[in-house]
Subunit: 136 residues, 2 copies
DNA sequence: CTACCAACTCAAGTACACTTGAAGTCAAGA
DNA sequence: TCTTGACTTCAAGTGTACTTGAGTTGGTAG
């Protein structure tokens, strides 16, 4: 299993070394072994970082990810903690999914407006999407 | 058209008055008329706030929203500015859509794991989703 | 008229997710 | 041996999106 330096991991994951040190500091990554004071990672950390990045984009905070990535796999931690979190996050994912799909369609339609009649087109587009509904 | 005070707008939109003042300060909401120094809104601001909240959830920054909500409707502004922004944002929406769908399925499957065999179940689930692929 | 409440401004503070800078350490190559 | 360069820690700084607090003002109720 290849040994990776912090800068190799960072580069492969598209992060800066400082981000990896930060993740370790807040307990998101478990401290790696050190050789001469320097962190040595094995490749499996890249999988974890991939999950972190996907989840982060999907609206997870690093604190939430710490619970999911550490507590879930820790038999000693109470299962209700992350169980509730996942339940809540699932609902958030559904809302977010709707929002993203709405925004995507809205943007696509605005792109189709021609610059001349732009203002009206956007308003019509908005109405068509019922994005501009009265928030009663 | 009903006149709304800042706290009425805030309450209906699920925001704090301070957020509305802040939006005005950064140019996201155009200043409303004042009566005795106090802001008076008409109901249409709620539609705008609904769009802002949806877009924000979908990953738009307030700076981007200022461009889209103000510049797009301003004939004087160069169309390339927001045109490029929308193009870029559309790509982001597609990536985000994939990520959210992946996270959603992952969370659903983790919920189905029973607490006993949790660790293995999560690993299998992750592999099944190819979330834990080598980030080469 | 006074008291009060809700609004106002402006500066400073907060949370999150990092980054940057200063000062020191370690292993390898010339 | 000396230098180089990538690493280390720790404290402080950054950007985004607000919130909070202090002190002030304006319209209404008693």
């Amino acid at each position: 299993m290849a040994e990776l330096s912090i800068s190799e991991v960072a580069q492969r994951a598209g992060l800066r070394p400082s981000a990896l040190r930060y993740y370790e500091e807040i307990g998101l990554l478990t401290p790696t072994r050190r050789i001469g004071g320097r962190r040595h990672y094995d490749e499996s950390v890249l999988e974890k970082l991939a999950v972190i990045q996907t989840a982060q984009q999907a609206g997870f905070t690093l604190a939430e990810l710490r619970i999911l990535l550490n507590d879930v796999l820790d038999a000693a931690s109470p299962s209700t903690r992350w169980h509730d979190l996942i339940q809540r996050k699932l609902q958030e994912m559904n809302t977010l999914l709707q929002n993203v799909q709405n925004m995507k369609r809205l943007l696509e339609d605005i792109m189709d407006c021609d610059d001349a009649s732009l203002a009206e087109c956007i308003i019509l587009t908005g109405q068509r999407h019922q994005l501009f509904h009265s928030a009663q």
